[in-house]
């Protein structure tokens, strides 16, 4: 407890192949404001899902979460909705990059995703490489160094700005 790398809370679960058009429909890409985007997160799944999303902290999903578009807003809208981490059996390549680059914790763990119950609790420590859920702890390979540095600064752009401020490239 208490680690700055430890995030989590209430779980909302989704199935497999959740695509970017469902996470944030293309018509809302005219905004980059996380709060505004969050208003429309998962809109195709209806208001009940949207309300539960806003009351949750961790998105848990099956295989290939975030497949589809390269739209970075698919990660941003979750941050805007108050989501602290996404734990999935697997991610689409671009969604995973966008999550890291926007400072959203994204962890691949089929076992943890399997053990998660909708409405339960999950905690992720991305430095230690553990997911705690349902009284069990699941290890995952910690991020490579370059990704840890980006996460520690809160995303790619803040990371670059911190680099400039530190006089390094």
């Amino acid at each position: 407890m208490g680690s700055e790398h430890r995030v989590g809370g209430k779980i909302i679960t989704f199935g497999e192949n959740v695509n970017t058009d469902v996470i944030i429909p293309g018509r809302y890409l005219v905004s980059i404001d996380p709060a505004e985007l969050a208003e429309h997160a998962f809109e195709p799944l209806g208001p009940e899902t949207q309300a539960r999303l806003r009351a949750s902290d961790v998105v848990v999903a099956g295989r290939n979460f975030g497949c589809g578009s390269a739209r970075e807003q698919a990660a941003t809208c979750l941050i805007g909705a108050g989501i602290k981490a996404v734990v999935a059996a697997s991610f689409s390549r671009v969604f995973f990059r966008n999550a890291i680059n926007t400072g959203l914790v994204a962890v691949e763990s089929p076992a943890a995703a399997e053990a998660a119950a909708d409405g339960g609790e999950m905690w992720v420590d991305y430095d230690a490489g553990t997911v705690e859920v349902g009284g069990q702890t699941f290890p995952f390979s910690p991020y490579p160094q370059v990704l840890r540095e980006i996460m520690a600064d809160g995303g790619l752009i803040p990371h670059l700005m911190a680099s400039f401020a530190g006089g390094k490239q």
Binding site: D21, V30, P44, C67, A70
Partner: protein, 426 residues
């Protein structure tokens, strides 16, 4: 020295790091950074960073394709911001709303070359493999970072070979092969993999067909896709004005290590169709024949090149679009539209009842061609996700231009071989 895949060679060239192995993360310096409708977000991010100098403005390419022409004051202002930025910074490769879809426009203008490493704010940037380049999609923050630092972190992927031998039966096209592969391998079947296409069918493909292949490889999760440059590639590059002495062709080594090899026999394939709401929900067209359609869309970076329009026009020749069905045709680029105009293909389409819209992403990006509740579209695009084209309570099927055109005639999903078989043979 160990034999290398195309991806290993391309990332070694872009990073300057030798002897890379899959899984390794390095900084690569892309040759080109493409941003489309996301460009304004990159500019706003750059402003936030307070950075005014770009790493290499000549590597920046901006194409206004997803919302063209502007739909409202907000998108018009976004376009205006991009125009002003391009002017101020000296971005030579700026293509405005009249140009077409970014990927196609860049290739037509000689900005995509074999062996290059190219990133774009669009997942279908895998398409650049049609000319032997390493193309991959990234978010707008990453393009912005590349504008400033010239680099991005990249993981060296494993590679998979897809070998397609033999010719296709009449009425069957490159799109059908890709739908079949996506259906068989799954929407995440090749996640994070570099895909190398080969085989006798692939060697005989036009550059347009190679674009369809490399574009759709993304729908299996591929990081990039590749067809080895050959005489067909060189002829295309000649036309695009690329000097041959500037080419740096990279080919995979004989004996390179592949995670898997997938084989597909061309002659046995029948027309395929992706059923709502996932791209890998693929069946033979016959399985869903007769499904009522409200709209047919021939467009997108997957299938709105010149040869796609010719195929559709040939199927539609002598027919009319079914009463009550909307056929929307959106050429991929201004060049393709002009060519289709000169050759009479546009006239044929219009006479059959098609509505021609301006070059660009059009209905695939949700800009025009939206559906009402309960409606169904058959599209030649690359995605059939719920709500992508209007109502969340509407459906998208995906097919080749031939299947789309045949279905437009009947108003229901139709195997194109039925229409072609009944046509009067000249």
């Amino acid at each position: 020295m160990t034999a290398k895949t195309f991806a290993q060679k391309a990332i070694e060239r872009a990073s300057g790091v030798a002897d890379l192995v899959p899984g390794q993360i390095v900084d690569a310096f892309p040759d080109l950074y493409m941003s489309h409708t996301a460009s304004w977000r990159c500019i706003r991010t750059l402003e936030k960073m307070g950075v005014e100098e770009l790493y290499d403005v000549n590597r920046v390419a901006m194409v206004m394709d997803h919302l063209s022409p502007a739909m409202n004051a907000k998108t018009a202002a976004d376009h205006a911001l991009c125009r002003e930025f391009a002017q101020k910074m000296g971005v030579k490769n700026f293509f405005d709303v009249n140009s077409g879809i970014a990927h196609i426009v860049l290739m037509e203008h000689g900005l995509v070359r074999p062996g290059q490493f190219i990133i774009g704010t669009d997942s279908h940037s895998t398409i650049y493999g049609a000319l032997g380049a390493f193309g991959t999609g990234v978010g707008f923050s990453e393009i912005t970072a590349a504008w400033v630092t010239g680099k991005l972190w990249v993981k060296v992927p494993e590679s998979v070979r897809i070998v397609i031998d033999g010719d296709l039966a009449p009425g069957v096209y490159a799109k059908d092969i890709m739908l079949k592969l996506i259906g068989d391998l799954g929407a995440d079947g090749l996640t994070y993999e570099s895909v190398e296409f080969s085989g006798s069918y692939v060697e005989g493909m036009s550059v347009s067909e190679r674009m369809t292949f490399c574009n759709l490889a993304m729908e299996m999760g591929a990081k990039n896709a590749f067809v080895a440059p050959d005489d067909t590639t060189l002829a295309y590059l000649d036309e695009a004005g690329v000097p041959r002495d500037e080419l740096d062709i990279l080919l995979p080594d004989e004996g390179a290590t592949y995670r898997a090899t997938v084989r597909l026999d061309g002659p046995t394939l029948a027309p395929q169709i992706a059923v709502p709401h996932t791209v890998d929900n693929v069946v033979g067209v016959g399985d869903v024949a007769g499904t009522k359609l409200d709209q047919v869309f021939i467009g997108s970076c997957a299938n709105a090149k010149y040869d796609d329009l010719v195929i559709a026009a040939d199927v539609l020749a002598g027919h009319r679009v079914a009463p009550g069905l909307r056929l929307i045709v959106t050429p991929a680029s201004a060049k393709i539209m002009a060519q289709a105009s000169d050759s009479g293909v546009l006239t044929k389409l219009i006479q059959a009842g098609a509505m021609i819209t301006n070059p660009g992403c059009g209905a695939c990006a949700g800009n025009g061609g939206a559906m009402a509740d309960g409606e169904t579209t058959l599209s030649t695009a690359n995605r059939n996700f719920q709500g992508r084209m209007g109502s969340y309570d509407s459906k998208i099927f995906l097919s080749s231009p031939a299947t789309a055109a045949a279905s437009a005639i009947r108003g229901v999903i139709t195997d194109p071989r039925e229409i072609v078989a009944t046509a009067v043979v000249a």
